[in-house]
Symmetry: C2
């Protein structure tokens, strides 16, 4: 899947382009070119290369959950009982496969997983916990944090020049 052939180091042009695209990827290449002092085709080629190299992982529209009836965002810290490689991998796959699980990280510290869950109602969340946590006998404990305000949401990576 991930192509390692074109692993060239990113220069300042690439970083400047990324910085624009991770804020608005509908920006025309011509405009990007003017901003970074390159021609549109040069910008194009760099973008395509970064996509192939996996530097750009996806191009997506960000949807407001509240406006599509998925109003509740919840954080969950999950602690497992046994941390063997097999069980951890199984948990990863299980969590990742659930659409309501928007993000899933395997972490160190007082928990093993942190999940970001998006659901329409608390009832739906309760059902999800039954399925995902109570139904998994390797889950020792989980703690829930309900988001009252999505203060800042995004996946933008801090890049040199902020």
């Amino acid at each position: 899947m991930s192509d390692s052939s074109s692993l060239r180091t990113l220069d300042n042009f690439d970083l400047a382009i990324l910085n624009i695209l991770q804020r608005d990827n509908t920006t025309p290449q011509r405009v990007i070119g003017e901003a970074v002092n390159l021609s549109a085709p040069a910008v194009q080629r760099r973008i395509r290369r970064m996509e192939e190299a996996g530097v750009i992982q996806a191009n997506v529209a960000i949807v407001d959950p509240a406006q599509v009836g998925q109003a509740i965002t919840i954080f969950v810290e999950v602690e497992v009982i046994s941390e063997t490689a097999e069980l951890i991998d199984a948990a990863k796959q299980e969590f990742a496969a659930v659409p309501e699980v928007q993000q899933c990280y395997y972490v160190t510290g007082e928990a093993d997983f942190v999940l970001v869950v998006v659901v329409p109602t608390m009832t739906a969340y309760e059902a999800l916990t039954r399925r995902l946590f109570f139904g998994n006998n390797n889950v020792k404990r989980f703690r829930t944090f309900v988001a009252m305000d999505r203060v800042k949401v995004g996946l933008a990576v801090p890049l040199p020049g902020d």
Copy 2:
């Protein structure tokens, strides 16, 4: 900026379009049209309406942090001392303004804020904690979870039809 005039309810066409766009917003309108049985201009108009209504909040490229030297993702639970409206708002603004803070949620439960932080090194994180937490005398306590694996990352909202 945000126009509240066109707050029409989303129909199944809109949801289908969103479902495509939140996975790949480079999909041509013509292709989307074929998928949902609509002409390209009809798709176009619906997209624009949803952008104006804020249903589509942004169009962005997702960048792999590791490939731009920002290899470490960290979760932080922050607990504050005083929870007055003013202090909470101040904290929101402060956290949101920091580029390294990729996401920030104000939550209920055993913590008040949950942050997702992206930094190049643990040293940088340590410096950030000094500035953001130790330097803020309304912060009672914070707990750090370092991500070992970004199992699932995204902002896709579960929509009818998954």
